[in-house]
């Protein structure tokens, strides 16, 4: 079980309100990602769930029971920190055993769970080393191992991959996703990286300034962003947002079109512009086009084999079925 409900949860630090009253429901077994720019309150929200911060008002229910006043250890949750927060003076074995030791679990059971976790996380050969002798990825796995052995009702991850290099990050991302499939335990994951959010989540919670902008599956957010902020935040490269006459033509204050939803041609199209920078990634080419009114530069995602250079004149046509329309408040027009 691992159902978490936040009801009118509010948090202030002194006079600053970092999270205005907020409701959120996390279902059992779900992989939920909190995503947003830095300082949006996503980590604070996670720490409120963990019990490392006290709520100013509102209630947090875990599995239907009020957990608002419970200390962290009594909530049945396990947390993986950004810095891994391993105990440097203990071996890997002792690090993993620590929560079980605190719970006064019988030694045989402890050994069994350590062996199981170590096997699952490829740590068997490292059990007698100290964290200082491990690589970043291994440390991360130890931190996850320490969380697994408690068999918590939910896992909380606070930007767990941001200290790893790019290659390792992709690997660990998959490992965590696989772990979720295997354990089917609720996971709440905080990141500022929308790629992590898109690839791992069942449900994404987009936050800005402590306010939930939208909750939905990755594709829901991609296809029908509720407002301009979500539209710009989800998707890479970012959605192009245009204002002015072009938007008015479509009966909106702002229109949005994703880089992958614009056709490019050298001869004809709706808009004409000049190529600024073309980023050739091999599989794709990101082209920044200048000179189109209402949006400068406009980004286009084209195939990897397209031959465009700085200064070329190109013609662009948006795919109208993928056009997003927003009103003056930035909200989506259906």
């Amino acid at each position: 079980m691992g159902r978490i409900q936040l009801k009118q949860v509010r948090k202030t630090f002194g006079k600053v309100e970092v999270i205005p009253p907020l409701d959120l429901e996390i279902n059992d077994g779900e992989f939920v990602v909190f995503v947003g720019p830095s300082g949006c309150g996503k980590s604070t929200l996670l720490r409120l769930i963990a019990g490392l911060e006290d709520t100013t008002s509102g209630t947090i229910e875990i599995d239907g029971k009020d957990a608002t006043g419970l200390p962290p250890a009594k909530r049945g949750l396990a947390m993986v920190f950004q810095s891994y927060a391993l105990y440097p003076h203990m071996t890997v074995r002792k690090n993993i055993a620590f929560p079980m030791k605190m719970a006064k679990m019988p030694q045989e059971e402890q050994d069994r769970r350590i062996a199981q976790a170590a096997a699952a996380l490829n740590l068997t050969d490292y059990l007698d080393r100290r964290p200082g002798q491990l690589s970043g990825g291994q440390r991360q796995r130890v931190a996850i191992g320490r969380a697994i052995v408690r068999e918590p009702s939910a896992f909380l991850f606070d930007e767990p991959l941001s200290n790893l290099d790019a290659a390792l990050r992709v690997g660990m991302r998959m490992e965590i996703s696989e772990l979720h499939k295997k354990l089917a335990t609720t996971m709440v994951y905080v990141t500022h990286d929308q790629v992590e959010a898109m690839t791992m989540a069942d449900k994404i919670v987009v936050l800005q300034a402590g306010v939930i902008e939208q909750v939905g599956s990755p594709l829901e957010l991609y296809r029908t962003p509720r407002n301009k902020f979500v539209a710009g935040f989800i998707g890479s490269p970012k959605m192009n947002l245009m204002e002015g006459p072009e938007a008015t033509k479509h009966g909106a204050h702002t229109i949005g079109i994703r880089p992958e939803h614009i056709d490019i041609s050298k001869t004809e199209g709706a808009w004409q512009g000049t190529v600024g920078i073309a980023e050739h990634l091999g599989s794709d080419t990101f082209i920044h086009v200048h000179g189109i009114p209402g949006c400068d530069p406009l980004t286009i995602r084209a195939g990897g084999d397209i031959d465009v250079r700085h200064g070329d004149t190109v013609h662009l046509t948006p795919q109208l079925e993928h056009l997003h329309r927003f009103d003056a408040q930035g909200l989506r027009i259906q």
Partner: protein, 276 residues
């Protein structure tokens, strides 16, 4: 460009360092040398440096006249007891200041340190009266308490700086893992701060060992430590430099040995966190 240090420059630096080192060490060396001289040679003018009749007579006399072991034992109990008691009080205090600071934490730390700026003699009279009232004058327990209080600000300050270096996330992880406050301090914080705690312990032990003002004023015969033992040889009966030196050497020998063996730990602890 990397800074180049010429051989000449190195040589000069080494010479200067040695000169300063020897200057600082000279009084101790002189005391040790004097302890092996006869009383006449000890006050001879011009002073003799190495070429004198080496004798152990002073040590024999000192041993005969006073019970060295009793003073030594008192010193160990007073210095050790005040250090241990100080740590027991200072670890939780430094923990709370480092990890759950309030708006006034910095002020409290400064205020604690400011008590060290007060001349000790300023509070001698009240403390003396309190000691009489409580009946702890000339007791080891009384001295343990007073020396602990005298050094507590330094212990708290040192531990506070070490604890500040420990990332808060690790303690939060312990809390998530089900550690109570006691477990957190016992299993996580203290082992991680061992180098810091060890050097605090050593420094405090040395400070308490060498403390003379309170030990001389609040003891008579029963609880007198080695500082009183030295003082008893600068007596009004006349100056016995050689015997005074022998007593001093015997008093500082244990702490010198301790300091020698723990110098690595001391240096590491005192520069902890300075370079990172």
């Amino acid at each position: 460009m990397a800074r180049t240090v010429t051989t000449n420059r190195k040589l000069i630096n080494t010479l200067i360092a040695w000169t300063i080192g020897l200057l600082i060490f000279f009084p101790i060396l002189w005391t040790i040398l004097t302890s092996f001289k006869t009383e006449a040679q000890a006050i001879s003018d011009p002073p003799v440096f190495l070429f004198f009749d080496w004798t152990l007579e002073n040590y024999a006399v000192v041993q005969e006249r006073s019970n060295y072991m009793r003073f030594l034992w008192n010193s160990i109990i007073i210095a050790g007891g005040s250090t241990v008691l100080g740590l027991i009080i200072a670890v939780p205090a430094a923990w709370s200041m480092a990890f759950v600071p309030s708006k006034r934490t910095k002020d409290i730390l400064l205020w604690m340190l400011s008590t060290k700026m007060l001349p000790a003699v300023g509070v001698l009279y009240p403390i003396y009266l309190i000691f009489i009232q409580l009946g702890i004058l000339d007791t080891r327990a009384g001295l343990v308490i007073v020396l602990m209080l005298i050094n507590l600000p330094i212990i708290v300050w040192m531990l506070y700086t070490y604890f500040k270096e420990i990332p808060g996330e690790i303690l939060e992880a312990a809390r998530m893992d089900g550690a109570s406050l006691k477990d957190e301090i016992l299993y996580v914080l203290t082992p991680m701060a061992v180098p810091g705690i060890a050097s605090t312990l050593l420094l405090n032990f040395i400070l308490a060992w060498n403390e003379a003002f309170w030990t001389l004023n609040l003891t008579a015969a029963k609880a007198a430590p080695l500082t009183a033992f030295i003082a008893s040889y600068s007596s009004p009966e006349g100056l016995f430099y050689a015997k005074l030196s022998a007593a001093s050497t015997m008093a500082i020998a244990p702490i010198l040995v301790l300091g020698w063996f723990s110098q690595k730990q001391l240096v590491r602890g005192l520069t902890f966190g300075a370079v990172k």
